[in-house]
């Protein structure tokens, strides 16, 4: 019985949601087609907006603010995701202990590294297989902006790492020398934390480290990291020198992944998971991306309710002020449909301007770098707001939906009011 009730309730909610979406789509379509289907001249709407510019501006600003927040939040999530996804390459494979959700929890032995190096599908160059066995730790460094400490991911890597992560380049200085306490710093980390400048010597993990290079990892999460020799980092962190947390492999080609994975996972000596590097980082971004999207969506939704009421108010007051005009137009032969189209078009015009304004207002945020903690690694990641054309389009569509919601009811009210009554009440 309860199951049937739940199904009925779900069906009812689904029906209402579908009807709502259809209504919005129909409203949008009708308003877009208004200039072609409706007979009320567009100049009437344009001049009416101009004549009531104060209330129109209030509605425009309300919608612009909402769209601005909406686009900014999504661009934040977009930027975070793009940063982490950019950290992975489809031509690389990541090997971690089976069941480890992150590198931090991983543990693979030197024996495993040897098996991986000999596996089919691994790219090789003159120096041998392109494999980097890595160790990661989190160290506190003072932020330049506030002076307070924030976690930075320190990654111990093999000296051939730049041939595996080919998008990473040393832009200043040089690569660290294996066996020495030298570090190279990601360009975002260098700009964000005090002391991480080329030539400087810093102290962490009980040792002294010299910054010998700055690297650019193409805007990926690696730009927020510090890289050093994995063996030295293991020593500093007092971990066994034959245990690493992950292995990253350059594949002979992206298509070689399955062959490599099958070979490694079917080896009885190995107890590991093999994923494409890009998939691992995409998965890492989901928690934060979802959090930002949900929170941003919530804020935008609350603001949208306010903006819709603003649009409703604007359109209702427009209709109240123009009762005589509407009644006259209907008396001379304009149909209810003509009036609905005309007012929907007007609401859409106001919301479109608001949408464009909101998008333009947040454009300067594009590329602006900010930091947040990656909940998977507990390290700070620098990322930039990423405003794409798709996001701007989504912002404008969001504005138009608000316009339809704010304009539809007043338009229907204007169109269905008995003409004789409307003329008499003037």
């Amino acid at each position: 019985m309860a199951g049937i009730a739940a199904k009925l309730l779900f069906g009812l909610i689904f029906t209402f949601a579908a009807a709502f979406v259809l209504l919005i789509l129909a409203g949008l379509l009708a308003a877009f087609l208004a200039p072609f289907l409706g007979s009320v001249p567009i100049s009437y709407n344009l001049r009416s907006i101009k004549a009531r510019w104060t209330s129109a501006i209030v509605a425009v600003l309300g919608i612009a603010g909402t769209v601005g927040v909406f686009v900014a939040m999504l661009s934040l999530a977009n930027g975070f995701k793009a940063t982490l996804v950019a950290s992975g390459s489809p031509g690389n494979a990541l090997i971690m202990r089976a069941g480890s959700p992150t590198e931090m929890m991983g543990g693979v032995s030197l024996d495993s590294v040897r098996v991986v190096q000999d596996a089919p599908g691994v790219a090789r160059d003159a120096s041998g297989p392109l494999v980097t066995q890595e160790v990661v730790g989190v160290m506190p460094f003072p932020l330049i902006s506030t002076g307070t400490d924030a976690n930075v991911q320190v990654r111990g890597v093999s000296s051939n790492v730049l041939r595996i992560r080919t998008f990473a380049k040393i832009t200043d200085g040089r690569m660290f020398q294996p066996g020495l306490s030298e570090i190279v710093v990601g360009r975002n980390a260098s700009k964000t934390y005090a002391g991480l400048t080329l030539g400087n010597t810093i102290q962490f993990g009980g040792g002294h480290w010299q910054v010998v290079g700055i690297f650019d990892a193409g805007g990926s999460a690696f730009d927020s990291e510090i890289w050093c020799d994995a063996k030295i980092l293991n020593e500093i962190l007092k971990r066994p020198d034959n245990i690493f947390q992950s292995i990253t492999v350059r594949l002979a080609s992206p298509q070689a992944f399955q062959q490599f994975k099958d070979s490694v996972t079917s080896d009885p000596r190995m107890n590991v998971d093999v994923t494409r590097e890009i998939d691992y980082y995409a998965k890492q971004s989901t928690t934060m991306t979802r959090l930002i999207t949900v929170l941003g969506g919530l804020v935008a939704a609350i603001m949208a309710i306010g903006a819709v009421f603003g649009a409703l108010n604007t359109m209702y007051s427009a209709i109240a002020e123009r009762g005589r005009e509407i009644a006259t137009m209907r008396a001379v032969g304009y149909s209810s449909w003509n009036v609905i189209l005309s007012f929907l078009f007007e609401a859409l015009l106001i919301s479109f301007v608001g949408g464009i304004l909101g998008c333009v207002a947040v454009l300067p945020l594009n590329g602006l770098t900010t930091n947040t903690m990656n909940f998977q690694t507990f390290a700070n990641v620098a990322f930039a707001f990423k405003i794409t054309f798709d996001l701007l389009l989504l912002g404008v569509v969001f504005a138009l939906v608000m316009g339809v919601l704010g304009g539809l009811l007043p338009a229907i009210r204007a169109a269905t009011r008995p003409v004789a009554v409307a003329l008499r009440e003037l």
Binding site: S39, V40, P41, S43, Y44, R47, S48, K50, A51, R324, E325, A327, T328, M329, R330, A331, V332, G333, Y334, S335, S336, P418, V419, A420, L423, R424, L426
Partner: protein, 248 residues
């Protein structure tokens, strides 16, 4: 020829039979029109008079398809309009009725030209044809030189003339004028009435007008009084001469 006894033939332009209109207010009924009959021929000019609340505007609204009667029927040029759907009635209004209101009811954000053009936007006329019609209509009302003026830039009399141009531009079957001079001074009122007379005399328009003003009513061919929900013919002034008509 105007008749109020229901004896008009089927060739009347407007035929009204047994028209009732009852409003329901606060649980009670107000019977405004009670079995009203009316026959109006083409080119008749009829004035409706009566005290406030007697149902003059209600009658005009019913004749113009803006309201529906409680009982009875209205036939205009062979079309029985009382049972038309809202959509059909709207189309019928656009084709057959020209409205002139006491407060002119021009759209303030549109120019005189655009106001007059409004009814034509519902037709299939080309832009050039519409322009031609609008210029003709504004020429008839003597405002050809005010086409690009906004209503706020016109006097009350001029605004009403623009409203008349809007009413005649689509060449409707008849005009309904609700207190067309009610908001004008005597001189402007005389000019408006002279214009309406000319529309009847020269262009053969059929005009039904509501007015409080006996001076204005005397300009009509027939004056009817609304008393207790029915029409009573009060006088039969000399009809407006019907010679020298032109088609707009």
């Amino acid at each position: 020829m105007v008749r109020v006894d229901g004896s008009g033939g089927s060739n009347s332009l407007i035929g009204v039979r047994g028209l009732d209109k009852t409003y329901h207010r606060g649980g009670g009924e107000i019977r405004v029109l009670q079995g009203l009959n009316l026959d109006v021929d083409k080119s008749d000019f009829v004035a409706f008079m009566g005290p406030s609340g007697s149902g003059k505007t209600t009658l005009l609204n019913l004749l113009g398809g803006l309201d529906v009667p409680t009982r009875g029927n209205i036939t205009v040029a062979g079309d029985e309009i009382t049972h038309m759907s809202g959509h059909k009635l709207t189309e019928w209004r656009a084709r057959h009725v020209g409205f002139v209101f006491q407060m002119y009811n021009l759209i303030p954000v549109l120019t005189a030209f655009q106001n007059v053009e409004l009814p034509l936007l519902l037709t299939k006329l080309s832009k050039a044809q519409r322009r031609n019609h609008v210029e003709t209509a504004l020429g008839v009302v003597g405002l050809a030189d005010r086409m690009s003026h906004y209503p706020r830039q016109l006097s009350g009399g001029q605004e009403q003339r623009v409203a008349i141009a809007r009413a005649i531009v689509a060449d409707p079957t008849f005009l309904l004028c609700d207190e067309p001079t009610g908001d004008l001074d005597r001189q402007s009122a005389d000019e408006i009435m002279a214009l309406i007379e000319r529309l009847v005399r020269e262009y053969g328009k059929t005009v039904l007008m509501v007015t409080h003003d006996p001076v204005v009513a005397r300009r009509a061919g027939t004056t009817l009084h609304l008393e207790k929900g029915v029409l009573v013919e009060s006088a039969e002034p000399e009809r407006v001469a019907a010679g020298g008509r032109h088609e707009i």
